[in-house]
């Protein structure tokens, strides 16, 4: 493999591992230094490999350089005295050299601990997602800015403030106690859910980055499932939900970035393997007494993988949306419930209910009403679709809506 391709690939796979281990070793107050050391390591790799060629084992090369840089830092810093001497005293064969542990076990442990550290409600959700992308996923600042459709400086500032806050609150990098995991994991799942949704539903144009966000969220969720202490039913449910959604990734976005609606998707493009994985994790999550919103959303997503429309399908979806809304209100769930209501009881009943939702400023509300009127009242349907087109901020959505209006106009003439 050429150096040009190799370094970005190594960056994506190895940055996060080294960063997590070093963050944990240095403590929350030196999180930026940990990041810098890993970044410098890659910089040095690019320079050296360019001159001398790619080493035989590039990963080992990176680890050795990062270890040496980390040791230099520790020696120069007070934390050497506090932490390292202690660690050496405790080590069985106390040599005078501190080993930085880049074993697989320690990498995984460090990443899990960092997950709990970053997904902390003391910093705003978008900062949690940003930090997760940087430290847990090894995204560059440019890529994060791309994902959020914002400027590099904005992301830098956002991450700086978040790190300062964590430092100020002296947040410890450690696994919560076993009794605490149940409550702490909620925060982690919320952030992973946001990360996934940012990729799946965001209006960003770069479909490669969007897909990467989803895959990263799934990878992190899978790490939680793989670990004995964090393998909770709701974690399985969230991973199941992500698998079901991701199964339609190829079908729902055209190569040019245009959205394809569920009913118009080429079902042969649905990823059967991901659907199977979704079912597997849904079953695995069906233990214990917790019924989280992820269970309900995963069950809804499961019904959506069934191609044939039956009354049973829509009755089940309606019932699941009712339960979901009773646990937690969200405008989008309210609209989806109304759509399911239409499929079970007819459009007229659903229109009456829809009008009570007070979501006049939401373009999805008008899209829904447009859809519900389309069979009976062309004029009203077009009115609502026009409002939806006016209200949406996403170009992809707008295209879809304008197409619908065009179709309705053809019906008139």
């Amino acid at each position: 493999m050429q150096q040009k391709e190799l370094i970005p690939q190594l960056y994506r796979n190895e940055f996060r591992k080294m960063a997590a281990v070093l963050c944990r070793l240095f403590g929350i107050e030196h999180i930026t230094i940990a990041e810098d050391i890993v970044s410098d390591t890659f910089l040095l790799a690019a320079e050296t490999w360019g001159l001398k060629g790619i080493p035989e084992n590039p990963v080992a090369w990176l680890y050795t350089v990062a270890k040496n840089k980390a040791k230099d830092f520790l020696r120069r810093n007070d934390i050497y005295n506090e932490k390292v001497t202690l660690a050496i005293q405790h080590a069985a064969n106390a040599k005078n050299e501190f080993e930085i542990d880049l074993s697989n076990t320690n990498i995984v442990d460090s990443q899990l601990q960092m997950m709990f550290t970053i997904c902390n409600p003391c910093i705003p959700p978008e900062s949690q997602v940003g930090l997760a992308l940087r430290i847990l996923c090894g995204f560059s600042i440019d890529e994060i800015a791309d994902a959020f459709l914002t400027k590099k400086e904005t992301i830098n500032k956002r991450l700086y403030r978040a790190k300062e806050k964590l430092k100020q609150l002296k947040v410890k990098i450690e696994m919560p106690h076993e009794q605490e995991i149940g409550s702490r994991i909620d925060n982690v799942l919320t952030t992973l859910y946001l990360l996934f949704n940012e990729g799946y539903f965001s209006a960003g144009r770069n479909s490669k980055i969007r897909k990467d966000l989803c895959l990263e969220a799934m990878r992190l969720a899978y790490m939680l499932v793989e670990n004995k202490t964090t393998n909770k039913p709701e974690v399985c449910a969230l991973l199941s939900l992500m698998c079901f959604h991701a199964s339609r990734f190829e079908a729902r976005i055209k190569p040019d970035g245009e959205l394809v609606l569920y009913n118009e998707q080429d079902r042969s493009l649905w990823n059967k393997e991901l659907i199977l994985n979704g079912k597997y994790f849904l079953n695995k999550g069906a233990t214990g007494s917790t019924l989280s919103k992820y269970h309900l959303e995963a069950a809804i997503a499961f019904w959506h993988t069934i191609e044939i429309d039956s009354i049973e399908k829509w009755e089940n979806i309606l019932s699941l949306y009712n339960k979901l809304l009773i646990i937690e209100y969200s405008p989008i769930a309210a609209l989806n419930r109304t759509y399911a209501l239409a499929r079970v009881y007819g459009n007229d009943t659903a229109i009456v209910e829809a009008k009570k939702l007070s979501q006049d400023h939401n373009h999805l509300y008008h899209s829904l009403l447009g859809e519900l009127f389309a069979l009976t009242d062309n004029k009203k349907a077009i009115e609502h679709f026009l409002l939806a087109a006016k209200l949406t901020r996403s170009d992809a959505d707008k295209k879809v809506i304008l197409k619908k209006i065009e179709k309705l106009n053809q019906k008139v003439s």
Binding site: L318, Y321, N322, L325, I326, Y329, P331, S358
Partner: protein, 115 residues
């Protein structure tokens, strides 16, 4: 928006037994009614159903069986909703499935407890 409790009262009929199908239909009505309230963002608390098993504790160490010895009606559950005023809350209560089986809904304003 203020919060109101909807208290569901029903005749106590120990002999009333529903078939599984009837039971499912009843549950579906309730779920859809509460789901509809939740879809409007007006459900403050999903509340609870109350079992007909219970005791009543009275002064002088007297404990009687069941909450319903002297009254025909029992409270079978409650939810907490958000509404502009008591009339608005009563309007929501009109959709309650308990009305179809002869029960009633008591709508009460909540006064926050300041202890």
């Amino acid at each position: 928006m203020n919060e109101f409790v909807l208290i569901f009262r029903n005749d106590f009929l120990p002999e009333a037994k529903f078939s599984p199908d009837e039971m499912q239909a009843i549950m579906q009505h309730w779920q859809e009614w509460i789901g509809g309230i939740a879809a409007k963002g007006l459900l403050a608390n999903g509340g609870n159903r109350l079992s007909s098993n219970g005791n009543t504790v009275k002064p002088n160490n007297i404990i009687t069986d069941g909450p319903f010895v002297e009254i025909k009606e029992i409270i079978s559950g409650y939810i907490v909703i958000k509404a502009a005023d008591i009339d608005d809350a009563a309007e929501i209560a009109k959709g309650c499935p308990i009305l179809m089986v002869g029960g009633n809904v008591e709508v009460r304003d909540i006064i926050p407890m300041n202890i």
